[in-house]
Amino acid sequence: MTLAPPSGRPAVDASGRRRSGRGSGRPAGRAFARSPIGYLFVSPYALLAVVFGIVPSLYAVVLAFTNADGGFAGFDNFTKVVGDFRFWPAVFHVTTYLLIWLLGLVLFVVGLALVVHAVGVRWVSTTLRFVYYLPGALAGASSVLLWLFVLDPTASPVSGLLTAMGFESFVQVIQPGHLPAIFAIIAFWTGAGGWILIMYGALNNISTEVIEAARIDGANAVQIALRIQLPMLRKWVAYMGVMSLAAGTQLFVEPQLLSQASNAVVPNDYSLNQLAYQYAFQQNDFNGAAAISLILLVVALLLSWVFVTRGGLFEKE
């Protein structure tokens, strides 16, 4: 998950996006070619976009509104999955996890980026960024496996810390009530470094004249951070928030592996995506699975739409 590892993806984006405003309009230039080669060059991509973007979405819509025999089912599939006793707990789990994770992400990523940026010694700052970024290499199942070790008091590198907190066994650590926080920690550990790099890049983009002027006016480092740097990071924080929110709704690999490792102390229908998976592969109910997928897809699309239109990410300058 967090697949789309924000780990590095938008890192480059940082340089690209600022300029996107200029590029996104209709390019005006005399060498702007109106040649058939355009079609030739985009058609493979357009084909992939249709086959793996548009068709699956439409197919999910069709399945969600039909029954197993292919007849029109109206909203039956939706009422069925929403009425499922596992649905609302899954919504609750995912929401709690998202709240904790997003709060931690915004708070610590912005804070750390500001502090790392303020560090004057070059090698210290570089090393810090590298160490924070490194866990991004462990995404998906690998990072969850690593955290299984960390959370198991018998083997954990921080077993002292765990016992001090009163945990004697793995099963005690992964009590259902702890899971949202645990998943948030895993996601933060893997993903935060990439975002810190992005915020750092954004801080570098703030012109030195502005900072200099503020300093001459008598602002100290904390005032500069709060009154100048923070407001200028706002767009990036919004970007991080929405990307992470959209990705977080798809929670799957963490609870899946934890469920497997805990002998089902963690249920295998903990998250919405897992529930959709259960529908498709345990109950052979593709229509129900499609209904849940569609709900998740609509949520993801809505969030991106809000961001594209309100966040001004792709707006022309």
């Binding site: 690209g16 060059f41 070790f149």
Partner: protein, 300 residues
């Protein structure tokens, strides 16, 4: 922390205590991010007994490492080797198609005019923001309909659709390539295709590398897609194979104590092996990624 240059910024936290707070904060997070990785590297040199008994940060022995290595690669008659091979096949296969498809597409979107250009651009931006996992089940249902489930193509083809790569290429070609150069090449007698291969493509080498990097990392780490598409263990990539290792680890799954069971240090080794290629790519490209980012930052 002495690192804060007080002379230059005159921070209000310039006092001894303020700097200590910041220093402690930075160190705590260094530990948070680094300790699990350091521990993992050390764990593979221990036997399952010393892993529990010895100090977590002590170094084990070479013989234990070799034993773990053998246990890992003997698991289910060399399944791990198969999984790594599969991962390489999927990640590189998708990477090649991604490059062949994305680079020309980004070029065409940026520098040529055609009908539906705007629509394709919007579609790219929207799909880019949709989390990958959101489309996995619908793609499964679609591929199930055409009977492709279980074939390597069911993983490679969906992974080849990489809108983020098209977006990066598009941005690059619309901002960094002077149109005059392309026009000059045209006057010199290049046709449209030659302008792309002889002029634009060599100039775009850095962005090709970047798209390749992101595509590879994402493909290698992908879990949900292969997990859903590939029903048999022979077809697993290593990320999904890890779940088989986990299922055979008695420490996490007591019912699995049997002849082919996996000990904790072996599982740790499996985790390292599963990320090794990505780790190598990360180490090589970190400097270049950050440099690229900050270079863009100082330009305007």
């Amino acid at each position: 922390m002495a690192a804060l240059s007080a002379e230059r910024r005159r921070p209000s936290l310039s006092g001894w205590s303020g700097r200590s707070i910041i220093g402690v904060l930075l160190v705590v997070f260094v530990l948070f991010f680094a300790v699990p990785i350091v521990w993992l590297l050390l764990a593979v040199t221990k036997s399952s007994k010393t892993l529990v008994v010895a100090d977590p940060f002590s170094l084990g022995s070479w013989s234990d490492f070799v034993a773990n290595w053998h246990q890992l690669f003997d698991f289910q008659d060399g399944a791990v080797t198969t999984w790594i091979g599969n991962s390489a096949l999927y990640a590189i296969g998708a990477l090649v198609i991604t490059l062949l498809v994305s680079i020309p597409a980004g070029y065409a979107l940026a520098l040529t005019e055609f009908r539906l250009r705007q629509a394709l651009l919007v579609l790219t931006l929207v799909v880019m923001l949709i989390p990958n996992t959101a489309l996995v089940l619908p793609i499964f249902l679609e591929l199930n309909g055409v009977g492709l489930i279980g074939s390597p193509l069911s993983v490679i083809l969906p992974m080849s659709f990489f809108p983020f790569g098209v977006y990066l290429t598009y941005i690059y070609f619309s901002t960094s390539i002077p149109r005059d150069i392309l026009a000059a090449a045209r006057i010199d007698g290049c046709n449209g295709f030659q302008v792309f291969t002889r002029v634009a493509l060599p100039l775009a080498a850095p962005i090709v590398a970047l798209v390749a990097f992101f595509s590879f990392v994402q493909n290698w780490n992908n879990f949900f897609l292969p997990f859903v598409m590939l029903p048999s263990s022979d077809g697993y990539p290593i990320q999904v194979g890890l779940t088989s290792l986990l299922a055979s680890t008695p420490a996490f799954n007591p019912s699995s104590a049997g002849s082919d069971s996996v000990q904790l240090p072996t599982l740790a080794l499996g985790t390292i092996v599963s990320i090794l290629p990505v780790l190598v790519v990360f180490l090589f490209s970190q400097r270049f990624l950050v440099a690229g980012m900050t270079a863009g930052g100082t330009k305007e």
